[in-house]
Amino acid sequence: MLLAVLEHDGAAMAEAAREALTFGRALAGRMGVPMHAALIGNNEGALVATAGAHGAEVVHTALHPVLSDYGPEAWGEVVAAMVRRLAPGAVLAGGSDRGNEVLAQAAARLDVPFVANCLDVDPADWSITRIQWGGSLLEDVSLSAEVPLLTCGLHSVAAETAETPAAPTVEEFAVDLDAALARTAVRDRVVLSAGVTLSTAPVVVGGGRGVGSAEGFAPLEELAELLGGKVGCSRAVTNNGWRPHADQVGQTGTRIAPQIYIAAGISGAIQHWVGAMGAKHILAVNLDPEANIVTKADWAVIGDLHEVIPAISAEIRARR
């Protein structure tokens, strides 16, 4: 079987986990094996049902006091224990911070390879195409491993439920964990923005160097709010201190996947593009009709963002 490791926040399945189940379902099909799922630190019925809806036939739940909150070492140790005892044909997680971290922890403990951010996997000979440079280059690798540990690139597949959902069997996976592993568990959480976040926003309004200043983002904020979206920015903007780094879209920032990305005053350097290319649609507002982002966009407005963005907001208000 193929074992999909599920990222969750205790109540809801992470988008990356639903992507892993979607990717894993196809891979398990090519391997000719069933897909199982690993639910660590939780056995909520809703999470089990979501795993089943995405095609997991068996859900292995691991409960232990050390697993009461996320911790990379404890989670990695559980995955390693599952590999030893359940002998999966492959292990897959989503290519999120946690997915990559947990599989790297497991691989280190098992002393086996780990291939991060795969786009295409041929289980016949484990030849794999994976992401380098945040997606601006691809690497073909051949993997030689007792058990392949893989993550699928974030947003490289759209999460979809299975045509024939499973009512999964729940199997308790008894783990004996060293209490010392709690040393890397989450101690506290600070919530800064409840609700819509940059990586899940249906609309992102992005600003680049062309915005010109921190104050210049006010009209972008206004448009984002009208559309129930979030403001993003390029690396030039955070390097100038106009926006916090948390707003940065790109290889070293956040990967977005909105319904539409409105990119204003952004040239579209490759390091920004790889963070934005998960957008379903792109609308560029730029003075330069030859800018990279304009040539890659679905739609473009050629003009000064300082005039165009407020005009869009005004038009939306007029229609409401």
Partner: protein, 254 residues
């Protein structure tokens, strides 16, 4: 504090990355080099910690002999020592890299005492394996958390903040510990004149190190197929706003 910060020499981010004709390497003919961005911030974080708490920063890299340039850069922004594990410059797989770095850190610790903190970049800008730091930390038995965008030292504890979609998570690691940091933890300083002098004076120590290749072998690099897109120009200037709003209405995001 004794801090060891591991860095990687990579082609400077921002440029278009091309592949050599045989697909075996990045074409570096017209590229400048830099410390991978997360690790550049790691060096800054290490220097800030020693400025606040005393101690020394050792910067460690594994790579072609030219990677000494990146150690000199680190010295120019405040790192105290630079150590190079020289290779032939070919791309090592993550297991091999981690084994060699682990051995190098053991050697440095035998000579100078244990490091309180190991700082890695969350992932390298080029190969992006997301694992070398974690493998080293596990091999050395150190607690390790990645994605870190804030570090404070509180007695024997490293308090580390990790950004999430909604805010951040707080971790408290007992030292000796390891962290994988991300860009945004700080804005790295520029080298000062004094820093440039220090970088010239830096004596780069070399440690021989090799390890057996792991199970992941690179066969070929290639550029992704670029989806041909026909850009529809909706208009020029603010007069295009109605057409933009029509598009938004069609997408159902109004």
């Amino acid at each position: 504090m004794r801090i060891c910060c591991c860095v990687k020499r990579v082609p400077a981010p921002g440029a278009r990355i091309n592949v050599t004709a045989d697909g075996q390497a990045v074409d570096v003919a017209h590229l400048g080099f830099a410390v991978s961005p997360h690790e550049e911030c790691g060096v800054e974080a290490a220097v800030q910690l020693t400025e606040a708490h005393g101690g020394e920063v050792t910067v460690l890299t594994l790579g072609a002999p030219e990677a000494a340039e990146q150690l000199r850069y680190a010295a120019s922004v405040g790192a105290h020592h630079g150590v190079l594990v020289p290779t032939d410059g070919s791309g090592w797989d993550p297991q091999r890299t981690a084994l060699a770095l682990t051995a190098a850190i053991r050697t440095l610790e035998e000579a100078g005492g244990p490091f309180d903190l190991l700082i890695f970049g969350n992932e390298s800008a080029d190969s992006g394996g997301f694992q070398v730091g974690i493998r080293v930390a596990v091999a050395l038995g150190r607690p390790m958390v990645g994605g870190i965008k804030g570090i404070e030292i509180d007695g024997p504890t490293v308090r580390a903040r990790r950004e999430t979609d909604a805010g951040f998570e707080v971790y408290e690691l007992p030292m000796p510990a390891a962290v994988g940091v991300k860009e945004g933890i700080n804005l790295p300083r520029y080298p000062t004149m004094r820093g440039r002098l220090a970088s010239k004076r830096l004596e780069v120590a070399e440690l021989a190190g090799d390890a057996l290749p792991g199970g992941q072998a690179m066969r070929r690099l290639h550029r992704p197929a670029e989806a041909a897109s026909e850009t529809v120009i909706l208009g020029t200037g603010p007069g295009a706003a109605p057409s933009v709003v029509d598009v938004l209405a069609d997408l159902g995001v109004l």
